[in-house]
C-alpha cells in the first residue's frame, strides 16, 4: 500500500528532521541573544556535532555501500551479489515483499528485435498497462513506456497525432494507431549523449540503464528521437500488492527517484527464453 511506504519513509527521516530542527533552534537563539563571535561559533559547533551524530546513527538514507557502488560493468560477481542482496533488502523493507534481483546476461548468437503490425493494432492500450504491471513502473506519477499515438489513416504525421485520445470505441473510423516505445536503436543517440556512461547497448541489442549510475541529467531524453525515455521526478509509487517480485538489476527493479528509465525489452524474461 502506498500509505505504508510513506509512513516508513517518515519514520526513517524523523531523527534527521529532529536534529535539523534542533540546529535551527540553536541558531535562532544564538542570533537573538547578544553574544560575542567566539561564543556563537562554539554554540554552532556544538549544535552541528549533535546533528551529525543524529544523522550518522540512523537518519541517513545513503549508505556507505550505496555511495561507493561501482558501475555495473565494473562489478565483480561478489559485488553484484552484495548489491543485489541490498536491493532485495531495501525492497522488502519498503514494500514488505520478498523479491529476487538478477541480471541475466546476453545470450550467444542471439540479438533481439520486435515487430508491430500497424494494420492489426486497434489502439486499446492493453499493452501499455501490461507493461506497467510487469515492470514495476510508478503508478503515481504514472510512468508508461509505451505511447500509443492515434493518427489519421493514410498519414504518418506525428504532429497531427495524439497519444491522449479517449478510446470509448477503438479502432475509430479513419484512424490508425502507432505504439511507440524504445526501438533499441542500432546506433543509439541516447547512449552517445550520456555523460557518465550510465546507459549502453548490450551485445544482444538491448539498450540498458544502470539506474544507480544515472545522474538524472536527462540529456538522453533530449537526444532520443522517439520520446522513449521517462524521468522519475518523484519517488515511484507502486502498490504493495502490484510489485512484480521477478526483478532484474538492469530492467524492472523499482527505480530510485531522479533517474531515467525506458523500455528494456523485458530482459529479465527474454534472456531467460520467455
Amino acid at each position: 500500500m502506498p500509505g505504508k511506504s510513506i509512513s516508513d519513509e517518515s519514520t526513517q527521516k524523523r531523527p534527521q528532521a529532529r536534529a535539523l530542527r534542533r540546529v535551527e533552534a540553536e541558531v535562532e537563539t544564538a542570533l537573538k541573544t547578544p553574544i560575542d563571535r567566539r561564543g556563537f561559533l562554539k554554540r554552532l559547533g556544538a549544535a552541528g556535532a549533535t546533528a551529525t551524530a543524529a544523522v550518522a546513527t540512523g537518519g541517513c538514507t545513503t549508505s556507505w555501500d550505496t555511495f561507493f557502488q561501482k558501475h555495473y560493468k565494473e562489478m565483480t560477481d561478489e559485488d553484484k551479489e552484495r548489491v543485489f542482496a541490498r536491493i532485495e533488502k531495501e525492497a522488502e523493507k519498503r514494500f514488505g515483499r520478498r523479491v529476487t534481483v538478477s541480471d541475466p546476461g546476453p545470450l550467444d548468437g542471439v540479438s533481439f528485435a520486435f515487430c508491430i503490425s500497424l494494420s492489426l493494432c486497434n489502439g486499446n492500450r492493453k499493452c501499455v498497462h501490461a507493461c506497467v504491471e510487469e515492470n514495476n513502473q510508478s503508478r503515481n506519477p504514472a510512468i508508461q513506456y509505451i505511447k500509443v499515438v492515434e493518427l489519421d489513416r493514410g498519414t504518418l504525421n506525428l504532429e497531427k497525432g495524439t497519444a491522449y485520445y479517449e478510446g470509448d470505441s477503438v479502432p475509430a473510423a479513419d484512424k490508425v494507431y502507432l505504439p511507440m516505445q524504445c526501438n533499441q536503436c542500432d546506433n543509439p543517440p541516447c547512449v552517445k549523449a550520456c555523460p557518465v556512461e550510465a546507459t549502453w547497448k548490450e551485445k544482444d541489442g538491448i539498450v540498458v540503464i544502470d539506474y544507480d549510475w544515472c545522474i538524472g541529467c536527462r540529456y538522453c531524453m533530449a537526444a532520443c528521437p522517439y520520446e522513449a525515455r521517462r524521468f522519475n521526478y518523484r519517488e515511484p509509487q507502486v502498490p504493495r500488492a502490484d510489485i512484480n517480485p521477478n526483478q532484474g538489476y538492469l530492467s524492472n527493479r523499482v527505480r530510485p527517484k531522479g533517474v531515467v528509465e525506458k523500455c528494456h525489452f523485458c530482459l529479465h524474461r527474454t534472456r531467460n527464453g520467455h
Binding site: D108, N124, G167, D168, S169, G273
Partner: protein, 199 residues
C-alpha cells in the same frame, strides 16, 4: 493426416508453463524430427534463429475438448438438414452469420455427414483442432503469417515451447470481424502541457 509443419502434443500432454522437462523435450524433438523428414513446408525464419539448432515446438490450443460435453452429433445424428437456411434456425438462433455474405450454406465448412468434423473444399475431413487449415483455404496470407508466428496470439517461450492460439480462439468463425473495444485510459496530460488545438 498431418498437414502442417506444426507439432501438436497428444491429448494427454499439457504445455508446462515452466521450462519443459527433459523427457518431454526428448519425446517432442523425436516427433519433430520425424515430421521434418516428411514435410518441407516449415517456415525458415523460426528454425534459423535457434541457438541450439533444435526445431521449434508449437502447441496449438485444441478445440475438440470443448466439443466433448455437447458433441454436434448428439442432435445431428437424427436431424441433419440437407439444405440449411441462413440465418440459422431455432437451436442456433443466437448465431450471427456475418462471414462471407455470399456463403451458400453451413456445409461449405461443416461436414454434412459428420458434424463433429470440418470439411475442406477438396472433400478432405479435418478436425476442429485444425481450423487453421480450413481458414487458410481462403486466407492464405493470414495462414502464412500465422505459421510464422506473426498473425495471431502466441505466448510461451521464444526458444522452447510456443503456445499458439488457433484462428477460432480470437475470431468467431461465423462473424470473424473483431468488434470495437473500449481502450484503457489515456496517460495523464502533462501539468504544464499545451494541447495541440491550443497552439
Amino acid at each position: 493426416m498431418k498437414r502442417t509443419s506444426i507439432q501438436r502434443l497428444s491429448a494427454g500432454q499439457r504445455p508446462s508453463h515452466s521450462r519443459p522437462r527433459a523427457p518431454l523435450l526428448a519425446v517432442m524433438s523425436a516427433i519433430a524430427c520425424v515430421a521434418c523428414g516428411q514435410s518441407n513446408a516449415s517456415p525458415p525464419a523460426l528454425e534459423a534463429d535457434r541457438p541450439d539448432g533444435r526445431p521449434d515446438q508449437v502447441y496449438v490450443s485444441p478445440r475438440t475438448q470443448s466439443l466433448d460435453t455437447f458433441p454436434c452429433s448428439e442432435c445431428h445424428h437424427t436431424v441433419t438438414l440437407q439444405e440449411p437456411t441462413l440465418p440459422p434456425r431455432e437451436p442456433h438462433r443466437d448465431l450471427v452469420f456475418a462471414h462471407m455474405p455470399n456463403a451458400g450454406h453451413c456445409y461449405q465448412c461443416h461436414n454434412r455427414d459428420d458434424l463433429d468434423t470440418l470439411r475442406l473444399f477438396t472433400g478432405e475431413l479435418v478436425s476442429f483442432d485444425d481450423t487453421q487449415t480450413l481458414c487458410g483455404q481462403c486466407h492464405p496470407a493470414q495462414k502464412r503469417d500465422w505459421d510464422w508466428g506473426i498473425h495471431g496470439k502466441q505466448v510461451g517461450s521464444w526458444r522452447g515451447l510456443k503456445h499458439r492460439y488457433a484462428c477460432a480462439a480470437c475470431h468467431d468463425p461465423h462473424s470473424p470481424k473483431r468488434p470495437a473495444v473500449k481502450a484503457y485510459p489515456p496517460p495523464s496530460f502533462p501539468h504544464f502541457g499545451i494541447r495541440k488545438e491550443a497552439h
